[in-house]
Amino acid sequence: MKLLVLKNVTKQFGGLMAVDNVSFDVEKGSIFGLIGPNGAGKTTIFNLITGIYRVTEGEILFEGIETNSMEPYRVAELGITRTFQNIRLFKKLTTYENILTACHYNARYGLVDAILRNKRFKMEEKGLLAQAEELMGIMGLEDRRDVIAGNLPYGMQRRLEIARALALRPKLLLLDEPAAGMNPDETARLMALIKEIRDRFNLTVLVIEHHMDLIMGVCERIVVLNFGKKLAEGTASEVQANPKVIEAYLGEEEVVVC
C-alpha cells in the first residue's frame, strides 16, 4: 500500500526551480531514502510534505488525502512529523518537558478543564506523563531527564528530536540528516535505532542523509535528486551502479590535457 504519493511536484522560488517535477511513492512500512548533493532540493521536499511551503504545481497525497493546502499543524494531525537538519528543540526546556510537550496531542482536555483541575484533567495528564516516561526509556534518555535540552551533547539532541517526533504517534516520520555530525560508531547505532523504531511503532520512515553507509544500510528504496530533478530511483545497489548518480556525486571524467 502506498502511504505517501508525490505527483509531479514542483516548487518555484521566483526564477529558481527548487523542486522540478518530482514524483515518487513511499510504501507503507518501508524506510525510504532521499539523497543528492547540497542544494538538490531534499529539504524543500520535506518542507512541502509538512506544509511549511506550498507546492507551485502537482500534488502530495497522504493516505489518499491531498495535503497541499493544509497548515503544518493539520499535516501533523494527519500523522506526518519530522526532525530538522539544524536541530530545533525547545532549547530552554528539559529533556522531559520537550517530550511531554509533544505528547499534548494525545490528551483532549480543554482550557477550562486545565483551570479547574477536574478529574478529566488529572486522568489524561497522568496518561501523558506515563507516555513521556516510556518514550524517554525507549530512546535511552532517562538519565538526562532534567537536563536543559540546549545543554545536551549533540548526539543526544538528535535523539531527543526523534523522541519528540515519536511522541505524536506518527504514521510517517521524516528525518532530515539524522546522522549529521555523528562518528561512524554513533551512525551505526542510529541505523539500528531507526530500524527498531520502525518495527516498534509501525512507522514509515523517509530519511535524508549524506552518510552513504547509513542510507545504503537501512533504506529499502532510494530516490536521488540533483538540481531539483529526480535523477534515479531504485534499491541501494541499483542506485550505486547508476552512472548518472556517480556523475552527480563525483563529477564527469575529465580529459587530462598536458
Binding site: T50, I52, E71, P72, Y73, A76, E77, T81, R82, F84, R88, L89, F90, K91, K92, L93, T94, E97, L100, T101, A102, C103, H104, Y105, A107, Y109, L111, A114, I115, L116, R117, F121, E125, L128, D146, V147, I148, N151, L152, R164, A165, A167, L168
Partner: protein, 296 residues
C-alpha cells in the same frame, strides 16, 4: 507612615499585578511582546464603569464585563496582527494602545479628555487580594497543563511547534485574549479605586511600565511577576525621600537590576514548596547542582 498610606500602595500593587500577570502569559510564556496593554486596561476600565454607572450592575459582574470587553477587542486586534512576526507585532500593539487612548479622548459620552468623574469607589484591599489570588491560581493551573506547555513551546521554537501539531495562531490568540482580560480587570479595579477615569491614565508609559515589570521579575515566571509588581509599584513611594530625584533613582535601580540580573529577579524559576525544599536540601548537604542540569 500610617496604615491608610500603606494600604493604598498595596491596592495599587495588586491592580498592577493583575495586568502584569496577564502580560506575563503573553510575553513571558508565549514570547510575544506588547506595548499596548494600557489600551486593554482602558477598555476594561471604561466598560466596567459603564456596567456600574449606566447599567446599574454590581461591581463583580461589571468587572467580568470589562474583562470580556477587553478580550473581545484583543480578538479583533489579534486577527489582523498575530500573523506578524516578532517586532512587527510589538509595533502594532503600540499603535493600538495609542489609538484606544485617542478614541477615548474624543468620545464625549465618557467625558472625553476631561475624564469621567463620579465612579463609585468599591475597590478595597480585600477585593484586590481575592481577585489577585484567583488570577494567580488560574494562570498557574493553565501554565502547568498541556496548554501551558504549548505556549512555552511556541516561545522556544515556533516552526517545531507547528510540526508537532500545535495550532500556533490559535494559541497566540488564546494568550492574547486571556492577557487582555486580565488587563481589563485591572483597568476596572483602577477606575473603581480612584472614582475617576481619564484617557491620560492609559498612556504609552503605562504599557511600558507593565512590560518592564514582567521583564524585571523574570520572563516565564509567575512568582517573578508577583514580586516585580510589588517591588516596582512600591519603589517610587519608598524613594519619596529623594524628592525631585525620585524617578531618576527609580530608573537607576531598574538599570542596575537588569545589568546584574539580566534574566530578571526570578529568571524563569518559580517559588513552590518543591523548589524551596530542593534549595534547602542543597544548602544542608552542600551539594553542587549537576552540571548542565541547572535551569538558567
Amino acid at each position: 507612615m500610617d496604615w491608610f498610606y500603606i494600604k493604598g500602595i498595596l491596592i495599587l500593587s495588586g491592580i498592577n499585578l493583575m495586568a502584569v500577570l496577564g502580560l506575563s502569559l503573553l510575553t513571558g510564556f508565549t514570547g510575544l511582546f506588547s506595548f499596548g496593554h494600557a489600551g486593554f486596561m482602558a477598555i476594561g476600565g471604561y466598560v466596567t464603569a459603564v456596567g456600574t454607572m449606566k447599567l446599574g450592575l454590581p461591581f463583580v459582574p461589571s468587572l467580568l464585563m470589562g474583562a470580556a470587553g477587553a478580550a473581545l477587542a484583543s480578538f479583533f486586534i489579534g486577527k489582523i496582527t498575530l500573523n506578524l512576526k516578532g517586532d512587527y507585532f510589538c509595533i502594532a500593539t503600540l499603535g493600538f494602545g495609542e489609538a484606544i487612548r485617542l478614541v477615548l479622548d474624543n468620545v464625549q459620552y465618557f467625558g472625553g479628555a476631561r475624564g469621567w468623574p463620579g465612579i463609585p469607589v468599591t475597590t478595597d484591599l480585600t477585593t484586590v487580594v481575592i481577585i489577585d489570588i484567583i488570577g494567580v491560581i488560574i494562570l498557574a493551573n493553565l501554565i502547568n497543563s498541556r496548554h501551558g506547555r504549548n505556549f512555552k513551546a511556541i516561545r522556544e521554537e515556533e516552526l517545531a511547534s507547528q510540526t508537532i501539531g500545535i495550532n500556533v495562531f490559535r494559541y497566540k490568540m488564546t494568550a492574547l485574549m486571556i492577557s487582555a482580560a486580565y488587563a481589563g480587570v485591572a483597568g476596572g479595579m483602577l477606575g473603581h479605586l480612584l472614582g475617576f477615569l481619564q484617557p491620560k491614565m492609559f498612556q504609552f508609559v503605562k504599557s511600558t511600565e507593565l512590560t518592564i515589570t514582567v521583564i524585571f521579575g523574570g520572563l516565564g515566571s509567575i512568582s517573578g511577576s508577583v514580586i516585580g509588581a510589588l517591588v516596582l509599584t512600591s519603589l517610587p513611594e519608598i524613594l519619596r525621600t529623594f524628592a525631585i530625584w525620585r524617578l531618576v533613582v527609580y530608573g537607576a535601580a531598574v538599570v542596575f537590576i537588569m545589568i546584574s540580573r539580566p534574566q530578571g529577579l526570578m529568571g524563569g524559576y518559580e517559588i513552590t514548596f518543591g523548589n524551596i525544599k530542593k534549595l534547602l536540601s542543597r544548602f544542608a548537604y552542600g551539594k553542587k547542582p549537576a552540571a548542565g542540569g541547572d535551569k538558567q
